[in-house]
Symmetry: C2
Amino acid sequence: MTNIPDGKMPETPTMSDVARRAGVSAMTVSRALKEGSHVSKETRERIMQAVNELGYVLDQSAGSLSSRRTGFIAAIIPSINNSNFSDTARGITDALEETGLQLLLGYTNYSVEREEELIEAMLRRRPEGIILTGGSHTPKGRRMLEQAGIPVIETWDRPSQPIDKVVGFSNGEAMELLVETLAAKGYRRFGYIGGTTARDTRGSQRRAGFVCALERLNLPADRLISFGVPPISMEQGAQAVVNMLERWPDTQVVLCVSDLSAFGALMECQRRGMKVPEDIAIAGFGDYEIAACCHPRMTTINVDCYGIGRQAALKLTQAIQGVGKPEALTVTDFRVIEREST
Amino acid sequence: MTNIPDGKMPETPTMSDVARRAGVSAMTVSRALKEGSHVSKETRERIMQAVNELGYVLDQSAGSLSSRRTGFIAAIIPSINNSNFSDTARGITDALEETGLQLLLGYTNYSVEREEELIEAMLRRRPEGIILTGGSHTPKGRRMLEQAGIPVIETWDRPSQPIDKVVGFSNGEAMELLVETLAAKGYRRFGYIGGTTARDTRGSQRRAGFVCALERLNLPADRLISFGVPPISMEQGAQAVVNMLERWPDTQVVLCVSDLSAFGALMECQRRGMKVPEDIAIAGFGDYEIAACCHPRMTTINVDCYGIGRQAALKLTQAIQGVGKPEALTVTDFRVIEREST
DNA sequence: CCTATTTATGTTATCGCTATCATCGAAAGG
DNA sequence: CCTTTCGATGATAGCGATAACATAAATAGG
């Protein structure tokens, strides 16, 4: 907190204070603090000195009211605790770094209602663009986004009716690819661990992809264990694999909605003295750090979380600055990473 | 983006537009949109209808300029990808939820220079309070914080010269406690894995605590393996333990600066056919989800990351609202969680 | 040397909202 | 029934910056 030496004003100084001290107009101060505007060297130095002496910090709220540019980008992710999504957030921030745009980050805890609230809270700050996770929103949320008059990017998915622009991939296809890859290795009795709730859209799509791929291969697709609502934990994976083994002890390979549950399953199997992949194979989704490091190392799908964020932010800044015409759809890569667990 | 049905104005509506439509003054609209102000029921309904019809969303930048309250809280953490810190961020957001304050989150990548930039970027937004991680800042950063005239909370540490208020614990003491606990179990030949760089202050403090505790116990404290700059990865832990075993093959127990490196070490040991804890014991720091779930489950120190965030945010809102006089120092709990890895 | 252009600075008018004070009618109190 | 209080609303004036236009001085061009 400020310490106020008696008579002095405790108020944070304004641009006029700086201007007065430097003997110029406020406008000149404004220019001096902005890159690439014409201010003579001496004036600029005098102003900078005044700025330092007063400890002046530009008030961007005021600035953005007048310039009609807030310098904010909003991003809404399901969870900051999930490293897949925080990687995306990191990709966004990194891409934004040079543009001077600042990230307003919110997380929904996988709830569309919460997302709706967040959308409104964010729009109140008049972001210049907004990045969402997934393509499911409440009708009101959707309407607000459409009316906001700013570019919107949906990520981590390929919505059938995008609001505006998309940077994502098909979670279903990715899972299908994984099934096919494993089937090609000779596995036949597949199990799946992952939620079914409408809440986790990407989870449901992965599961649908699992079923779809097996049906196409004429293999049974009924070994499905679901657990509660997201966020999915490692521990849930451990419980689920127990469940799976009780119901279908001869399961050869278990695919999980995420590396986190896959890891929980893997550890639980080891705890029970089962060998992975000899007794049972396990694969995850997301290529989290843990998948590359655990023992045995985990087969999974890499989905370029960081790149999703980065590309979304780039597309957004393109749209904002009106530089070129950004593609409406960017499909991001995913690829199977075969490791020791299968 | 907005679709503009020819003649219509594409501009986002303002409060005056709503006022005109509802047949009241802008001030009344402002009141109607704010909780606990006197507006008659009929008027409020009329206004809300106008709000919905126009799709009006309050402009908080303009509002905060006038009310001199931005509704922002800034928080700066080293990394969003580290679940310890993202837990803290979650604690902050959750505690803020009811207050209507919004979080401006930034991450430093463990760089104080970056922290300084972030502090300035944040202060430009005129947050009503700011939460920092750790007690090391650049002189300029420190000065800016002192002059900002807002409550400042340093967390995750116990700085010797706090700027304002503190919510944290001594990383050194926590590590000492872990050493003592394990020494009491009979371990004698301790090794430590973790960085030394000034960059990771908390890491250095933990290491100092390790050395300090061993010296007090008259045990050798020279088995130290350091690795590069943070963020610390699992893989680094794996490499470090190899290094440790080469130099001091008879090490009984390895303490790591974080559960993540501890996990990497644990997996690497298993990969090499060593049994944990029989051949070598391993302990981490932070009580990440992985520590409770891996096999064998990992001994570690729980440090209530979420609680740090929560308490910091509570203290901050107290200071902002001037309700009571918040304590300058809150020492948060830490405790050893003994599990199977030691 | 004079006009055309550029550079450096100032003036003014908002940006969209809310604090503050003012107003007016209705309910409450004696 | 008259004063007092309160509740509902409006009018006005900024908040602290910047856009836009204006002006004066400096430089360039012929």
